[in-house]
Subunit: 254 residues, 2 copies
């Protein structure tokens, strides 16, 4: 898989010299400008302008992303030769698939997303059937899993760093949805709540790996391209969901 | 990867008719005749005829197999679309890499094998350096990981069924080694002890998947070929270790 390469004017000094860790981390953070928090669909959703069916399309389609996550993380785990990294990374799979007695927060993120589905009016079996998942959503999520399986594990870890930007998007939902969408049972929002501390833990490990691995200027540029690839996946998901919503308000093409 | 196909006279009735589950399970069990418990090196080892250096070669080389196991299992996990199977399968990774506070039995199988290494006189760093691992051992273990990553997950699960035969080999060691090799600290044998109940749990899941998936006679034959492939890996490991021991007693080829 060839990643798109972004042309970047190399403003921060000699391009033959690597950025310092602080400069490199700042460059990674700066890519938050392209996070899907700024996508028109997310802006509409988080300002209370989505109809119930639009939220349902979002929950249904994003569910496909959610169920890809543990498989993506297992693919990375399979490529990790170092037990210490595996011991940290496996937590991500347990977070989503659940662990222990599989009740409460131990039921995992996929279960929490299923509750969100029920809270917006999608029955469990209906959500799990993947009915209504747009082909473009599948392609984008599958591209993420395939990248994770085929790239060096440090690159796959780097691609997870969109989590740096995730706490804000979850906080926005927790702050706004109870007012904007009072018909959604508050218990349905637990997925967003659960992700805030977990994202912090994940980012600490992801940044540690990324800052240690990409140590030349060309490698640092590649890290930015990888992060952009992942940002593109999330952005493309919302493009596709926006299109599903638009088609839904127009006459069927049948 | 093409598996070798064993020619089997189809003694159990019409080859167009699948074996019943009981017949198929009996066919799987019958392949235990090719388990490495019967390999001349294992027979020598378990009857107390190995010199300390020979046991060290075995522990060193088998360590490479041990560290491949969680990566093999993560590759299978990545291919499992079903959360219920993933929830069962991830236990295998936790068994080997450890979990929780990583102390005692929670330190995992790789740690227990490291203790076995120390008990036979191999320092931790020396073992982990993979010094003295024969190329043939790497090739065989890597073949197992690659099969697990590339085969349909049910086939990869089937390949794990050599665990059906593992409790006996561990019990033999626990029964014989304290007498045959009294210089090995008994604590070093904990790996063997720990695997007996875990193998039972793993086999229950592996058999459930295999009996449900391979339901035509050709498919059942393929399952037997897959199990034979895995038996060949274990057997080849001991062939290679036997060769290392032989070379060790002969003048160097340098």
């Amino acid at each position: 898989m060839e990643l798109a390469q972004t042309h970047r004017p190399d403003s921060a000094g000699d391009p033959a010299t690597p950025w310092t860790r602080a400069e490199f981390e700042a460059q990674l953070h700066a890519q938050g400008a392209g996070y899907h928090i700024h996508h028109p669909f997310n802006v509409r959703m988080n300002s209370g302008q989505c109809a119930p069916d639009e939220l349902r399309h979002w929950v249904r389609n994003r569910f496909y992303y959610q169920i890809c996550i543990p498989r993506k993380d297992a693919a990375i785990l399979a490529n990790m030769p170092d037990r210490e990294h595996r011991r940290l990374w496996i937590e991500r799979i347990l977070d989503h698939d659940g662990y222990g007695d599989y009740t409460g927060s131990a039921a995992g993120g996929i279960e929490a997303w299923t509750r969100l589905g029920e809270a917006v009016g999608i029955a469990r079996d209906d959500l799990w059937s993947l009915r209504g998942v747009a082909p473009a959503v599948r392609f984008a999520c599958d591209a993420y899993v395939n990248f994770a399986a085929s790239a060096p594990w440090q690159e796959a870890v780097c691609s997870s760093l969109t989590e740096m930007f995730a706490p804000q998007i979850h906080k926005d939902r927790l702050a706004g949805w109870p007012t904007h969408y009072p018909w959604i049972d508050a218990e349905g929002l637990n997925y967003f709540r659960s992700r805030i501390p977990l994202a912090g833990r994940d980012v600490a490990h992801g940044l540690q790996v990324t800052l240690a691995h990409f140590t030349t200027r060309p490698a640092q540029h590649r890290a930015l391209d990888i992060l952009q690839f992942k940002l593109d996946i999330l952005w493309t998901l919302l493009d596709a969901i926006e299109k599903v919503c638009l088609n839904d308000t127009q006459p069927s093409r049948d």
